[in-house]
């Protein structure tokens, strides 16, 4: 397709590099350097979408990231489809497929446009007033219809083939925005040698200099100055210049987040990441983020072909595109004059309508008229003509009281409107700086700073080019700690405007559809309704009307909405309030924020030295905290149930081997180590002999069980503490906290040794026989090495701390060896055990075996509300100890009150029935709901060794109920159970002492 609206020359596009893409399946030609918006306009395409609520035809309003209307779904290949892209910021490239959104069956003929006819009903907040009858229709009828009508584009439906990167960076000065002020700031900061990052959201740095073709700086064309500035910045190693990079979030302590778009504009992204999140910690920040132009609010101001005036200028000068051939500029300020002049210079027919009276307008008018532009001063815009494209503008003279004269139609195919400027104070506001209202420029500008930032240029309400440069230079120099200042000369920038909230009109205000928020279809009428209904703060008005809540976050609409509210209440803007800006400045993909943190990088996976061996043996694994633990070792064809039954029998009848390396380990060392242990655990430690072990239980200060584990005294001043797998870090932190902050006088060091010691548990009647040939320097005989003892020696030539401990109730050893040697020792033990039928077992069997013995697992029998007495372990409390962590809480009234839940065993009437863990227990299954629940099942297994199912439970006054019956919930109803002692096997503990 030819580009009928491409100007014959000018613009920064590369005419030697044609680009071809599609819009709704139709081929569109453009040039390298075009945005989708500029290429569409070059081809005379203005209708690009349908609005959110009324499905009104919409076109391109802006050239930048403030675009509210022209939202496209962009297809960059399989899996690379995403909705709601602003046509003005998507760069064209070959093969791109773009689609308009929110219409059916087509953009041109959209059935949803019926909503536009119903607009008298569909006003702000109408949905709060209806859809309530009949009641059940909300879920079934109304809401599904509303939902289907809402939303813009379609969410991606397949996984994303792109990857995303993350980078942390530090700099002395971060400059946001590479327009004139930002460039001057970056240059000034860079010349001091400080580390500078300059980020700009556009594909090319330069800001307004890219389209302000008539400007001069220091006596030469601005474009030349820009080029020299970029060359200098590029040559400096202390400068990182990032284009296509949006500073979207300003967080605490000068933590600024940037989103860099790396591959979307490339025909072939290769292996590069699509986008990168920069998390910059900046010494100082310079905000040179520019300003946004305000639309004018008049009837049907949303018609395709109606653009912001400055955007018309950008399309003309930067892209070499005429958005129309007969352009009317409607303005209340002087900045649109430059656009009108440039349009005229491009050979277009131009009319300019200024709301201001002739004498308000100033001397610039003469230059317009001299250029052959028809000028109407003191005129308001009554409305626009045309539906899918503007065909004319109705204007009328208006006096200062707002009285309109005779209407007059100006035929046109494009309108450039300007209602003045709004500084982009978003990042300043995010930094928690306080905004001040500056009446002279009718804008909120940065006031009191909270963080180390300064604003410069249009972001601060300074619009004159020389002033922007001077201010930017000063900000950059000051941020870099330099006292040097430069002054700039530049061609003057006319900037005055008269604030106007809605263009004066003589039409019936209830009939006028003058849009304030284009994307969310909020009209001036809606804002009026909200105020009449009592919504008076801007936050209320926003929420009630949804103005400013669309994907552009109100960049073009907020000030008009504020002004309309203030006008209706006859008050000032600041008293209506301004919204607090929140991140992000423009929408940021989840992918950028997530970066590579997926799957294995979502959370670290910890594995033991034995992991590969277990994998090779076909083990099934479970996640326990960050660890992957072998769950069971199925033989070919075996179910989990079969495998666990076999493993359980093997341990009780022969010998099993278990990888307990995930146990937390802490070395507690120092002259006061025993005293420290004494204060932290409920047990006594002072008299524990060297070489002996003790099962320890620790509480939080609130009296509830925190963790447990076997502790060995390695030397008078040294304890080898073990913790639960999940509790290791928590326990160390708990210990460090008390040691450092409560008892700094204690001479103790704590070291995590979880990763240093691997633990191989060899359990079962034949355990001693298996390891005896491998161990040197330790007498393994029962008399010399009793249960709950620890010896040091070597195994397979490797130093070991050998524990005789058991979590199975059998004779057992836990072989602690340095992790580097663990696999070799494991393999040697396994080989030595093969004649004895040694059986590797996993965590499931470990759970069953300990449950058969009634041993608790912290986190399973306990849940953060359980005391030692609840689980029958109050006997461990050292009576002689005056205090330990948590002791006082055990004496609180409701902790000593009767009726607490206590650990018991349960057996079902049907020995084959394995209760659900979590099943609730009641005394009377026939009572009405709500039922009185007496407790719940904490552990439940089929026990091959007991020949039946067994369960542990916490039951109110459970120890008084032994022998009694309760009823447990099952998926099929209640099952009767008998309350029994929680020790199901070997209650006298003979086997463990074998």
């Amino acid at each position: 397709m030819a580009q009928p609206f491409r100007l014959s020359r000018g613009g920064r596009i590369d005419r030697t590099r044609p680009v071809r893409f599609t819009f709704n399946g139709r081929t569109v030609d453009g040039f390298h350097g075009d945005s989708v918006a500029s290429a569409l306009l070059a081809n005379g395409i203005h209708l690009v979408g349908r609005s959110f609520k009324y499905h009104r035809p919409r076109g391109i309003l802006s050239h930048g990231s403030d675009e509210p209307s022209a939202l496209l779904s962009v297809d960059r290949g399989p899996g690379r489809v995403d909705p709601n892209n602003r046509a003005s910021v998507v760069e064209v490239r070959d093969g791109l497929a773009t689609h308009s959104q929110n219409h059916w069956p087509s953009l041109e003929h959209d059935v949803g446009a019926i909503n536009d006819l119903l607009s008298p009903v569909f006003v702000a907040g109408f949905y709060y007033k209806t859809f309530m009858w009949p009641k059940k229709f909300w879920d079934q009828v109304y809401e599904p219809v509303i939902r289907a009508a809402a939303g813009l584009g379609k969410a991606p439906s397949v996984p994303d083939p792109d990857r995303y990167a993350n980078r942390h960076a530090h700099c002395d000065v971060l400059v946001v925005g590479a327009g004139p002020a930002g460039l001057a700031a970056a240059l000034a900061a860079a010349r001091t040698g400080r580390r500078v990052i300059l980020a700009d959201e556009g594909p090319e740095p330069g800001g307004t200099l890219l389209h302000d073709t008539s400007a001069e700086i220091d006596g030469r064309p601005a474009a030349q100055w820009l080029e020299a500035a970029l060359v200098e910045l590029d040559s400096r190693e202390n400068v990182i210049l990032l284009s296509r990079t949006t500073a979207f979030g300003y967080y605490n302590h000068n933590h600024v987040a940037l989103a860099e778009r790396i591959t979307d504009h490339l025909p072939n992204p290769g292996t590069a990441p699509r986008e990168r999140l920069w998390q910059v910690r900046a010494g100082k920040v310079v905000l040179a983020t520019g300003a946004h132009e305000r639309p004018l609010v008049f009837a049907d101001n949303d018609r395709p072909g109606i653009l912001l005036a400055e955007s018309v200028r950008v399309f003309l000068n930067r892209y070499g595109v005429a958005p129309g051939r007969r352009i009317v500029f409607a303005t209340s300020g002087v900045s649109a004059y430059a656009a009108a002049l440039d349009a005229r210079a491009a050979g277009l027919a131009v009319t300019l309508v200024d709301l201001r009276s002739e004498d308000e307008c100033g001397p610039e008018l003469a230059s317009l008229r001299a250029a052959g532009i028809e000028v109407l001063t003191g005129h308001t815009v009554i409305g626009a003509k045309g539906a899918k494209r503007v065909t004319g503008l109705v204007v009328a003279p208006v006096d200062r009281a707002g009285r309109c004269g005779a209407h007059h139609l100006i035929p046109c195919d494009c309108v450039g409107m300007s209602g003045g400027w709004t500084p982009a104070v978003h990042l300043f506001s995010q930094s928690r700086g306080k905004l001040d209202y500056n009446a002279a420029i009718d804008a909120f500008v940065p006031g009191t700073s909270v963080q180390g930032e300064r604003s410069a240029g249009a972001a601060k309400g300074t619009y004159d080019l020389a002033a922007c440069l001077t201010e930017g230079d000063a900000a950059g120099a000051a941020a870099a700690g330099s006292a040097e200042r430069r002054r700039f000369t530049a061609s003057p920038t006319p900037t005055g405007f008269r604030p106007v909230r809605a263009m004066p009109t003589d039409a019936d205000p209830t009939k006028v559809r003058a849009f304030v928020d284009f994307q969310n279809d909020v009209t001036a009428k809606d804002i009026g309704l909200a105020v009449r209904e009592g919504f008076r703060s801007i936050e209320h008005v926003k929420r009630y009307t949804t103005t400013g809540m669309a994907t552009d976050q109100g960049k073009t609409s907020n000030m008009n909405a504020l002004g309309l509210v203030a006008g209706q209440l006859d008050t000032t803007l600041p008293s209506v309030g301004t919204t607090t800006f929140r991140p992000p400045y423009t929408p940021v993909t989840f992918g950028t924020l997530v970066g590579p943190a997926r799957h294995a990088l979502f959370d670290p996976i910890r594995t033991t030295p034995i992991h590969a061996w277990a994998e090779a043996r076909g083990a099934a694994f479970e996640n326990v905290a960050l660890w992957r633990r072998a769950w069971y070792f199925p033989k070919p064809g075996e179910s989990m149930h079969d495998a666990v039954a076999r493993e359980c029998k093997a341990v009780r009848e022969g010998v099993g081997i278990f990888d307990a390396s995930t146990l937390g380990k802490i070395e507690v060392v120092g002259p006061d180590a025993a005293e420290f242990m004494n204060r932290l655990y409920i047990n006594p430690w002072l008299k524990l002999e060297v070489g002996r072990c003790r099962y320890g239980l620790m509480l939080k200060e609130d009296g509830y069980i925190l963790d447990d584990g076997v502790v060995a005294r390695v030397a008078p001043d040294r304890f080898h503490v073990t913790t639960t797998t999940g509790g290791a870090a928590r326990v160390l932190a708990h210990m460090e906290d008390y040691l450092q902050t409560e008892w700094p006088d204690l001479r103790v060091f704590l070291t995590s040794t979880t990763e240093q010691w691997a633990v191989i548990a060899v359990q079962g009647p034949k355990a001693r026989a298996v390891i005896s040939a491998l161990v040197e320097g330790i007498d393994l005989s029962p008399a010399a090495f009793p249960h709950m003892a620890m010896r040091t020696g070597t195994i397979c030539g490797v130093p070991t701390r050998l524990f005789r401990v058991s979590f199975t109730g059998e004779l057992g050893f836990e072989i602690n060896v340095p992790s580097d040697h663990a696999l070799a020792v494991w393999e040697a033990v396994h080989a030595a055990g093969e004649p004895f039928g040694i059986t590797p077992y996993g965590t499931e069997t470990m759970h069953v075996l300990r449950a058969e013995k009634g041993y608790i697992i912290v986190g399973q029998e306990t849940d953060g509300t359980v005391t030692p007495d609840d689980v029958g372990l109050s006997g461990m409390i050292a009576k002689a100890k005056k205090d330990f962590v948590g002791k006082r809480s055990l004496a609180r009234p409701d902790v000593v009150a009767p009726g607490r839940k206590q650990l018991v065993g349960l057996v079902t009437d049907d020995p084959a029935l394995v209760l659900d863990e979590g099943a609730q227990l009641v005394a009377d299954p026939d009572q009405p709901i709500p039922m009185r629940m007496l407790g719940h099942v904490t552990s439940s297994y089929g026990s091959a060794n007991c020949g039946r199912s067994i369960a542990l439970a916490l039951v109110a006054d459970g120890r008084a109920r032994l022998g009694g019956h309760l009823h447990a919930t099952t998926p099929e109803g209640f099952a009767r159970v008998t309350v029994v002692d929680p020790v199901f096997l070997d209650p006298t503990g003979e086997r463990i002492h074998a």
Partner: protein, 96 residues
């Protein structure tokens, strides 16, 4: 993300730290001597000032040491950090 000056390591990002809540609450020397109400006060009642707060931080993924800080809970600005056991040079608004 806060930038926190560990007294031992200097400025580090917040993700290296663990916040331990209100500072300068000494564990009672003889908890058994306290009434239930006094013990509950020790366990649960915390200053929650809208203003300067004295709080504990641990440089968990750094030197591992606990220290104290004065931070304004409205601006999140740190006034100072200081070692455990020391007193701040400024005062907190610990009434609430």
């Amino acid at each position: 993300m806060l930038l926190i000056a560990c007294p031992h390591c200097g400025n580090r990002p917040e993700t290296e730290f663990r916040c331990g809540g209100q500072a300068h609450i000494a564990r009672p020397a003889d908890p058994a001597a306290l009434s239930d109400a006094q013990w509950a006060e020790h366990l649960f009642v915390r200053a929650n000032p809208r203003g300067v707060h004295a709080e504990r931080w641990c440089h968990a993924h750094g030197c591992g040491r606990w220290f104290n800080a004065l931070r304004d809970t409205v601006s999140d600005r740190f006034l100072e950090t200081y070692p455990t056991g020391a007193q701040p040079t400024q005062t907190s608004d610990a009434r609430a």
